[in-house]
């Protein structure tokens, strides 16, 4: 690492706590952000000379607060700024603030900071952009790149999001237990959204968006550190790790999506898998199941299969069954049908998704999956119709290419059959 890399790392890791505390103090997002920015600039000047402070977050909160207060005073009375050295000598002040802000205080600061980003008035894309900007501290340029929009457009999106948040009433008092758990589940959902923004990308965009998945994992880890005993947060963390563990195997050299069955499993990240499995293990001890834990358990069964044929599809079918009860959704049923097709055959799977046709009539995966079952059953003409519909609904060129592969196979089969018939 270079000389300043440790400062960058320390600033990044202290950011959520510091901005969260500054927000509680100033009750204004822009002021809190600017205060943190100014404190970071001073850290870059002071830390290389004086070494890192014992508690970087406390240092940044203290300095950020002082600088912002000075700014406010100066703009009111044109008072002179104190010398830099006077601010940098923080040994006593740091002690004091570290005592005053105990662990639980920090915890609610960070949760609040995350929570205001998932305000229900904000559309999902704004929630994500705001969280990446404010909590993770990514630059507008970095976020714009990940979302494939111009910097100006992203700047506008974030400004708009901030304006909505400023208008909304964000409660600053310490939340009660029920409120806290509601906040926790909104924040968990937002982190999963961020992850999926990165995870669902493919082709040219996959590389640009991969950092989103990594950032989501970092945020999930932050959340889990604050709420060590929450099985659903363990489940979320495990789910993200187990899915992300497959990242290197999910695309071929041309950027085309490689399906689970065809992935080179030696490319899976065993460290992440080990951590994911350890977290599910911890979560299950609580006997308080939830959607993230179940999805993580499904991902774990895939991760534990050395070869695709070792996959325990019967167990996956059961887990999806439990997920259907908790979170009834046609997409969950569709996913369950894939396990059913492996465990009990294509006919049972097709029967399971037949009733979903109406609700998923614009859903790419429904027609892709349906076409595959029909093809397995030898109902090639119906399969072709389903695949054509899937291509029309494909979101990415990789998705369309994948379906075209099926169609080509159908074509070859029917030509072979035609060939046999004429012989």
């Amino acid at each position: 690492m270079t000389d300043t890399a440790w400062i960058d790392a320390a600033l990044t890791s202290a950011r959520p706590q510091a901005v969260g505390a500054l927000l509680r103090y100033f009750r204004d997002l822009d002021t809190a952000e600017e205060a943190f920015q100014n404190a970071s600039l001073r850290a870059l000047k002071s830390w290389p000379q004086n070494g890192p402070p014992r508690d970087p977050a406390a240092w940044l909160i203290m300095v950020g607060r002082n600088v912002a207060i000075d700014d406010i005073r100066r703009s009111r009375k044109q008072q002179p700024l104190p010398e830099d050295d006077a601010i940098s000598d923080l040994d006593d002040a740091e002690e004091e603030i570290a005592e005053r802000l105990d662990g639980s205080h920090y915890r609610d600061d960070i949760l609040r900071l995350l929570f205001i980003c998932c305000h229900p008035d904000l559309p999902a894309t704004q929630q994500i952009a705001l969280a990446l900007r404010i909590v993770s501290g990514l630059t507008v340029k970095q976020i714009a790149r990940a979302f494939l929009v111009t910097e100006a457009a992203m700047e506008q999106r974030i400004t708009r999001a901030k304006a909505s948040v400023a208008k909304a009433d964000v409660p600053f008092e310490t939340p009660g237990a029920v409120e806290r758990s509601e906040r926790l589940s909104s924040v968990a959902a937002m982190i999963y959204l961020i992850f999926n923004e990165g995870y669902s990308a493919s082709g040219d965009t996959a590389e640009l968006r991969a950092p989103l998945s990594e950032e989501a994992i970092r945020l999930a880890r932050l959340l889990l550190r604050l709420f060590q005993g929450e099985p659903e947060i363990m489940g979320l963390m495990a789910l993200l790790l187990l899915q992300h563990a497959r990242a290197a195997a999910r695309f071929d050299a041309d950027g085309a999506l490689v399906l689970l069955d065809d992935q080179d499993r030696s490319l899976w990240n065993q460290n992440m898998i080990a951590e994911g499995l350890a977290l599910i293990d911890k979560a299950m001890r609580h006997r308080r199941s939830g959607p993230y834990q179940i999805q993580a358990a499904i991902a774990a069964l895939h991760a534990r299969a050395a070869k695709p044929e070792d996959t325990d599809w019967t167990q996956i079918d059961l887990l999806y069954g439990a997920l259907e009860v908790m979170q009834p959704s046609p997409v969950v049923t569709l996913n369950r049908s894939v396990a059913v097709s492996k465990a009990r055959g294509a006919e049972a799977a097709l029967a399971m998704i037949e009733p979903l046709g109406e609700r998923l009539s614009n859903y790419f995966h429904y027609f892709g999956v349906r076409g595959a079952y029909l093809m397995q059953l030898g109902r090639n003409e119906e399969a072709r119709v389903a695949f054509d519909r899937a291509i029309a609904l494909a979101n990415t060129s990789a998705e369309a290419a994948h379906i075209r592969m099926h169609l080509d196979r159908l074509m070859r089969d029917s030509q072979q059959q035609a060939g046999k018939a004429t012989k």
């Binding site: 890791s13 662990g103 880890r221 889990l224 060590q228 005993g229 080990a274 977290l279 599910i280 167990q315």
Partner: protein, 130 residues
């Protein structure tokens, strides 16, 4: 004498390393470790998963299981080395070399009282039955 070199660092900072940064540090550490291996001085080495994966059993009566690490500290126990050294100076020398390869945080150097090499095969895979 066998010494344990216990590695403490802020896991947030270590966790914010990019894959490339992480790999670069591991590579530099491998150089130091290889030298010790060739000298026949390196015992078991472990890098621990983050403290979020930790569970604590408090040996009260009855024992209490708590999610999370034993101690909530600014810097966390992230791993350890066991190294055969002549004396404390020698052990500090090894720790300095490791520290040059992996700056930041602190090493606690503790002489080992009893050592049993054990018989674990060393798989890091979990054993979850979903």
């Amino acid at each position: 004498m066998l010494y344990a070199i216990l590695c403490y660092h802020d896991e947030d900072v270590v966790g914010s390393w990019s894959r490339e940064q992480d790999a670069a540090v591991m590579e530099k550490l491998a150089v130091v470790q290889d030298k010790l291996v060739k000298q026949g001085r390196l015992g078991p080495v472990a890098r621990l998963l983050p403290t979020t994966a930790a569970t604590t059993l408090r040996k009260e009566n009855p024992p209490v299981v708590i999610d999370g690490p034993y101690a909530e500290t600014k810097e966390q126990l992230l791993g350890f080395y066991l190294v055969d050294c002549n004396n404390l100076d020698d052990a500090l020398g090894v720790a300095r070399k490791l520290g040059e390869a992996n700056p930041g945080g602190a090493y606690e150097i503790r002489p080992v009282g009893v050592f049993m090499p054990g018989s674990a095969k060393g798989s890091t895979e979990g054993s979850v039955k979903a």
